[in-house]
């Protein structure tokens, strides 16, 4: 019984391990430095956005607009290249992500509306802006050589992107478990009213959560655009589903209050490893869909069965509570 619960606790790790082992046995050429490093590079885009989303989900919020921010930030970083030069333009792109996140955060906190609906709306808005400023045409950067350099593999394992991803996720792990603001994020996601009553500025935490998520989506978008030397209004339109899946597979609870950075790392790597393995075997896309949908549901159902205890009054998740943000208790 104790082993079972231990196994369930580290289920992401186990699933990841199983995926890797089975793939290594079935798929020729799977276990090699190039495959792994390129697999990691692929996972990095999802991973960077997942980092931001992990924080938001723990805080009991969600950001559906990340895919649009991803595209918009990339476009800006490309379009401004002639005027600003590559690196300043890239910085501008990240700032765009930050601003988009700030808009999300200010609206969610200020209007006190559910982030699911609100970011659904801003997803539309940011995507529209991306189409608007590009006239729905992809835009091209000034220097293809820079892109090629950026896609280089260093130390046999890391690209710039994947190194950033791994570094950030370790930082996030430290931040979430060892710092006071990190713990407060859990408090806000688990019971926003109680957090507010204890003097935690939950509004501010949520706001910066959105800014953080927006910044990372922007960063991912800028990197993608730099690597491909292209900014396109259609980039990232299906990204958010995969990202949510990765974060949730990593054990972060979508209702808030629970989650970890290492879990997200596991989730991102599992999905990445699985995709690469299936592509190596020419598994049709729709079969891949079925498999990943199945794994998602399986893991979440497992999570539920582990955590079905008697519901205490205080044990209801903030995400579904009447007042996701503080509205001052009730009678």
């Amino acid at each position: 019984m104790r082993y079972v619960s231990l196994a369930l606790q580290y289920r992401v790790g186990i699933i990841l391990g199983l995926t890797l082992i089975v793939s290594a046995m079935l798929v020729p050429g799977y276990v090699s430095a190039t495959t792994l490093s390129l697999g990691l590079d692929r996972a990095a885009t999802i991973g960077l956005i997942a980092i931001g989303l992990t924080v938001l989900l723990i805080a009991g919020q969600i950001d559906l607009s990340a895919g649009s921010v991803f595209a918009l930030a990339g476009i800006v970083s490309i379009m401004l290249q002639p005027q600003l030069g590559i690196l300043p333009a890239a910085a501008a792109g990240v700032v765009v992500g930050m601003v988009a996140g700030a808009i999300n955060g200010a609206l969610v906190v200020g209007l006190k509306v559910h982030s699911l609906v609100l970011t659904l709306a801003t997803m539309l808005i940011f995507r529209s802006i991306a189409h608007w400023i590009t006239d729905s045409q992809p835009v091209t950067g000034t220097d293809i050589m820079f892109s090629l350099a950026l896609a280089q593999i260093y130390l046999d394992v890391f690209t710039v992107r994947s190194a950033l991803f791994v570094a950030f996720i370790l930082l996030l792990h430290f931040w979430l478990t060892r710092t006071i603001p990190g713990r407060n994020v859990f408090a806000v996601g688990s019971n926003a009213v109680a957090a507010e009553e204890s003097g935690i500025a939950s509004g501010r935490i949520l706001f910066f959560g959105f800014v953080f998520a927006g910044t990372l989506a922007g960063l991912a978008g800028v990197l993608q655009s730099l690597v491909t030397n292209t900014g396109s209004p259609v980039f990232g339109s299906t990204l958010i589903v995969t990202v949510i899946a990765a974060v949730v597979v990593g054990g972060t609870r979508i209702e808030g209050g629970k989650g970890s950075a290492l879990g997200t790392l596991g989730g991102v790597l599992t999905i990445g490893a699985l995709t690469v393995a299936m592509e190596f075997q020419s598994v049709p896309a729709y079969v891949q869909q079925v498999v990943s949908g199945f794994i998602l549901i399986l893991l979440v159902v497992l999570d539920r069965t582990v955590n079905t205890r008697r519901k205490a009054a205080a044990d209801r998740p903030a995400f579904v509570q009447g007042n996701p943000i503080k509205q001052g208790g009730s009678a």
């Binding site: 969600i62 609206l107 209007l111 006190k112 509306v113 559910h114 699911l116 609906v117 609100l118 659904l120 709306a121 801003t122 997803m123 539309l124 808005i125 995507r127 529209s128 802006i129 189409h131 608007w132 729905s136 589903v241 949510i244 899946a245 949730v248 609870r253 979508i254 209702e255 049709p284 896309a285 729709y286 079969v287 891949q288 869909q289 079925v290 990943s292 949908g293 199945f294 998602l296 549901i297 979440v300 159902v301 539920r304 069965t305 079905t308 519901k311 579904v320 509570q321 009447g322 996701p324 509205q327």
Partner: protein
């Protein structure tokens, strides 16, 4: 004992305003449209809007139940619609148009049931459950038809669906019938009251002998069936169906329901509200297209609109003392 005069009815005015707000907005769009564009205020145009909104409208009726029961959203709608459309056409040569339609809707209901079981009985978050089931469902549908377009083989059924009765398009009549039934169920029947109670306070409803799991699951079954009907009708009108026919319908439906002021937290909302939201969005889109507003700008306006709608709703609700 305690005197009653401490209690006033301060929330009534706010409540009325929140109800009237949308109607005022709809009137404003109609007014603007009539002034700005000669083609707008005509029977033909209104019939167009009505026909265009009927298919998504049927999904809206189901989605209202999902939001009210506290089920957040059903993201598997595209898969269910595809299932309805493809089966209702694909099975025609084998079993005839009517049985195909019935089978298609039944299978869509089964997908809804799967969602419902996961959400209601296993306690899986609805976003995740419907996302997963939708992905799997769409994958299976694609695998089944291999991506090719399925064509209709029974023109008579198409004519029936595309036809008019008393000058009103048949799809619109079907939509109206479903909306009325949906409204009746949600507002007048015990099932609807159960749905509202489950969304309002799950544990209290459970402790009041409401079969909460079934009620929660039921909302997804209703949405599955609605999306199946919607998909079937879509297939019949188009006489062709691809796996991706349903893309975007989930967002359109959620948008309409939310603009209509139905609470995404559950426990509050009605079918007429959701439909008012739909009418508003559709009329606005219609005016923008007639005015030649570019697609990106339309998206921008629609997004801004949702922000305003939910923001206003939250503000009113707060002053209403919810």
């Amino acid at each position: 004992m305690k005197s009653g005069d401490r209690f006033t009815r301060g929330s009534k005015a706010v409540e009325a305003l929140s109800k009237a707000g949308l109607l005022i907005a709809i009137l404003a769009v109609v007014l603007y449209g009539s002034i700005a564009n000669a083609a707008f205020f005509s029977t033909g145009n209104f019939l167009n809007v009505l026909t265009s909104m009927s298919i998504v409208g049927i999904v809206v009726v189901g989605m209202t139940f999902v939001l009210v029961v506290g089920g957040l959203a059903d993201l598997s709608v595209p898969a269910t619609i595809a299932c309805g459309a493809i089966l209702s056409l694909g099975l025609q040569p084998m079993i005839g148009p009517v049985p195909s339609f019935v089978v298609a809707v039944a299978l869509a209901g089964a997908i809804g049931l799967l969602n419902g079981m996961l959400v209601g009985y296993f306690g899986v978050n609805p976003i995740i459950a419907t996302l997963g089931v939708g992905t799997i469902g769409l994958g299976i549908v694609q695998a089944a038809v291999g991506g090719v377009i399925v064509y209709g083989t029974n023109p008579a059924s198409a004519e029936l669906v595309k036809g008019r009765l008393f000058g009103i398009p048949v799809v619109a009549l079907i939509f109206a019938a479903i909306a009325i039934v949906g409204h009746f169920v949600l507002s007048r029947s015990f099932w609807g009251r159960w749905t509202l109670a489950t969304g309002g306070n799950y544990s209290a409803a459970e402790a009041s002998a409401v079969p909460v799991r079934a009620v929660k699951a039921g909302a997804f079954v209703i949405t599955g069936l609605a999306a199946g009907i919607s998909g079937g009708l879509l297939g019949l009108t188009l006489q062709s169906a691809r796996p991706l026919v349903g893309t975007g319908y989930e967002f359109s439906a959620i948008t309409a329901v939310v603009v209509g002021g139905v609470s995404i937290i559950g426990g509050f909302g009605s079918v007429p509200r959701a439909i008012a939201g739909l009418v508003f969005v559709q009329l606005l889109t219609n005016v923008m297209v007639l005015e030649g507003v570019r697609t990106p700008v339309q998206g921008f306006v629609l997004g801004t609109l949702i922000v305003c709608a939910v923001g206003m709703d939250a503000a009113l609700r707060k002053r209403g003392g919810a």
